[in-house]
């Protein structure tokens, strides 16, 4: 975030430089709003206000319109996120095979609730409707890795893989 020592403008420009690079790849059309948001979030880890303002003005959309899209889709976040994103599947198959217990144990292990990020920014914990790996229920995803056939006892070891 920009500091307040009189160089805000230059700092902001520096901060937004990667975004400008992303914007260059797309034509200035509304249909590219979602891909731009997705790529920006990959770049910044989340979608800060400055980024949204810049996207809105360069696509010639109102900020409220962009905000509307960002808040509609669960994939988009306006708060900083953990280094590792844990998604606990709450789908039917996982539910029937004990997904709720798995979530409980992860919450206890990390000391955060679903939807929160650990204070050290190591983990963000979320629930998702279905990962689509029902054959392995109960399942969680950490970043792009799927971990299946979990039991509460296996959780500490799985989380441990992501702690250096």
């Amino acid at each position: 975030m920009a500091c307040n020592c009189g160089k805000e403008q230059t700092n902001l420009e520096k901060y937004l430089a990667p975004l400008k690079g992303i914007m260059k790849k797309y034509k200035k059309e509304e249909k590219y709003l979602i891909p731009i948001l997705q790529e920006s979030q990959d770049q910044y880890g989340y979608l800060p206000e400055e980024v949204l303002k810049e996207i809105a003005s360069s696509l010639d959309l109102s900020l409220s319109q962009v905000y509307g899209v960002v808040t509609f889709y669960t994939q988009f976040h306006m708060e900083p996120r953990g280094k590792n994103i844990i998604r606990v599947c709450m789908g039917t198959a996982c539910h029937v095979r004990g997904g709720t217990n798995v979530l409980q144990v992860i919450q206890d292990e990390l000391g955060i609730e679903s939807g929160e990020t650990s204070p050290d920014l190591k983990f963000t914990l979320e629930t998702v409707a279905c990962i689509g790996a029902c054959g392995l229920a109960p399942v969680i995803m950490i970043n792009d890795d799927t971990h299946g056939r979990l039991t509460p006892e296996k959780i500490p070891a799985v989380l441990g893989q992501y702690l250096e």
């Binding site: 249909k31 979602i34 039917t92 539910h95 029937v96 279905c130 054959g135 392995l136 799927t146």
Partner: protein, 600 residues
């Protein structure tokens, strides 16, 4: 291109299921082992898509014998190479065992799970390398597109698809050929085809497996559809939660463009077609066609009233044809083999096959493709191998959050679109979750409603407010705080929402409640009148567990599994459960070898 001849091919499944069970490590190990014995010029490793048998992953099949090895660990690879690949001896211990008979089955096609299946859509899944367009073409791929574009008129294509009786596999079951005809006749200078791969139903993963295992089949189906309706551009809308499916599809489109199977003047017919991928951003409602189009346009994915239907006014107001992944994947077969060949499979009004995702408390979870008209009993007991731990069958939930439950009495009903509807369930996307006596049906209904309530986009009041009120009632029932008249109110609300919600998501949201109320009303009543959860699931109502001291052998297994340390006692004597601490999870009762633990 590799033209060498190998004496054996080893197929390793690299679908999402097997990868998360460690298939990548198996492959690396196999490469090392083959190199160690200098077999790499004789034996070829092929990474394939999903075999459907995710439960048993990682899976390896050795051809020409067709021997099926499952649940492999890295060290097993050494045994397979030394015994099977070097000496030709099948490794018995790594074969699949039928859950009921414990018999080892060496050959892929003899396993009960595969025997009763009939594979059209999944024909190549698990057989070809999904990242090789050459393998797809080698098995007759893109022949159907060539036939359609060079020897048939668009109307002839539409007529063939109509004759075949193919119906939409995404849930609605609308005649595909008729839908194409509407879009074909609609006036417009620009038309689109869209593939709906926003598979959001919890418990369904067939679209993911098709895209991961055989992406070219879907592309080919879309080319044929685009030709039939006169579209020159298409979109595949894929969930962002399916990264592997997206990357395989990207590769497939790239390869098809290179061979001019996508792009300008396909097959010299003068027909152009450009295909784009659009990644979803996490909204279940985007599986609804009008919401999906809004999302492609870059807007909030909210549905709008129909008519006008997308075939008349779709993406950016242009005539648009939307089908789901499985529907498009059926099209190449229909065109290549003819309408009659397709119509020969299935029942009077539902033709062809359907892919079901078999999950829940069943031995063989995975993807199965069966002819329409098969009975649930065949799917669950013959293919699925029955329930886990020999438990009693209670119900199967079909069609996800839009569907309903089917009980024992309807297990022998031949299933198709219409028979399912007649008993209050629906085909939906084909998710099938099997439940045993330890599943509480009120809790299941609450689970689905919680899901739809979370995913409600908020545009129309019946869905936004109505599902919330229904959920509140269900929460009260599960927590033992139900009021008089709650059941009646729940039913009345359900019918109102069904009649008045704007889109399919809202209109079908009450189905799981209505269906469980119809078949398991006594379970609801037990929660309300007796403050009891018969399945022992609803914690607030569950009574604590007790140990029968006379039976207890003091093995101490229960102590180890108790998550709240409620069990105390002396080893080799007997144990006791503190009713105050017990959360009634039942873990101890499941573990007890002498059945000494029961709910009081």
């Amino acid at each position: 291109m590799d033209h060498s001849i190998y004496r054996s091919h080893v197929l390793i499944c690299t679908g999402t299921g097997c990868v998360s069970s460690g298939a990548k490590n198996i492959k690396v190990k196999l490469e090392d082992e083959l190199a160690r014995f200098s077999l790499n010029k004789e034996i070829k490793i092929i990474e394939t898509g999903c075999h459907g048998f995710c439960e048993k992953g990682p899976i390896m099949i050795v051809y020409p014998e067709g021997v099926f090895y499952c649940q492999l660990e890295e060290e097993d690879v050494v045994t397979i190479v030394e015994e099977h690949l070097l000496k030709g001896r099948i490794v018995d211990g790594l074969l699949y065992k039928e859950p009921l008979t414990e018999e080892s089955i060496p050959a892929y096609q003899d396993i009960d799970f595969y025997k009763k299946q009939e594979r059209i859509v999944l024909e190549n899944c698990g057989k070809v390398n999904p990242e090789s367009i050459g393998e797809y073409i080698g098995l007759g791929g893109y022949e159907a597109a060539g036939k359609a574009l060079t020897t048939m008129t668009p109307l002839e294509v539409i007529e063939t698809v109509k004759q075949s009786g193919l119906r939409g596999r995404g849930g609605g079951g609308f005649l595909t050929g008729l839908k194409w005809q509407f879009t074909h006749t609609a006036k417009g200078d620009k038309k689109y085809v869209i593939c709906n791969a926003d598979e959001g139903d919890p418990g369904a993963f067939m679209d993911r497996s098709i895209l991961e295992g055989d992406p070219h089949r879907v592309i080919e189906g879309m080319i044929i559809a685009a030709y039939a309706i006169g579209a020159d551009e298409g979109y595949v809308y894929v969930r962002a939660e399916y990264p592997l499916a997206i990357s395989r599809l990207e590769k497939a489109i790239e390869d098809a463009e290179e061979l001019e199977l996508l792009g300008q003047d396909l097959f010299g017919s003068g027909f152009n077609f450009k295909l784009n991928i659009k990644k979803g951003a996490g909204a279940f409602v985007c599986g609804e066609e009008t919401a999906l189009m809004a999302s492609i346009e870059g807007k909030r994915g909210m549905p709008r009233p129909r008519p006008p239907y997308p075939s008349v006014k779709g993406l950016w107001g242009k005539p648009t044809n939307i089908n789901n992944v499985e529907t498009y994947a059926n099209v190449p077969f229909v065109i290549k083999e003819g309408a009659a060949a397709f119509a020969a499979i299935g029942t009077a009004d539902s033709k062809g096959t359907k892919v079901f995702a078999l999950t829940g408390k069943i031995n063989n979870t995975g993807l199965v493709e069966v002819p329409m008209g098969i009975t649930l009993r065949e799917i669950i007991f013959d293919i699925g191998g029955g329930l886990t731990d020999g438990k009693e069958f209670k119900a199967v939930q079909i069609g996800g959050p839009s569907g309903g439950c089917i009980t024992e009495e309807n297990l022998d009903l031949p299933i198709d679109y219409d028979s399912l509807k007649s008993i209050g369930a629906m085909m939906g996307s084909g998710g099938m979750v099997v439940m045993d006596e330890k599943t509480c049906m009120v809790d299941v209904a609450r689970f689905f409603l919680n899901f739809t309530q979370n995913e409600s986009c908020g545009k129309c009041t019946p869905c936004r407010e109505g599902t919330k009120r229904m959920l509140e009632i269900l929460n009260r029932i599960c927590e033992g705080e139900a009021r008089e008249g709650d059941l009646e109110l729940l039913e009345a609300l359900a019918h109102h929402i069904k009649d008045t919600a704007l889109c399919g998501l809202g209109q079908t949201a009450p189905n799981p409640v209505l269906s469980t109320l119809e078949y398991f009303r006594e379970e609801y009543e037990a929660h309300i009148n007796e403050q009891k959860c018969p399945a022992g699931v609803c914690n607030a109502l569950a009574s604590s567990y007790q140990i029968d001291q006379a039976v207890c052998v003091g093995c101490g297994m229960c102590v180890k599994v108790c998550p709240v340390d409620a069990i105390s006692g002396k080893p080799k004597e007997s144990y006791d459960i503190d009713a105050e601490l017990c959360i009634s999870c039942g873990a101890c009762a499941d573990k007890c070898p002498v059945d000494a633990i029961s709910q009081g």
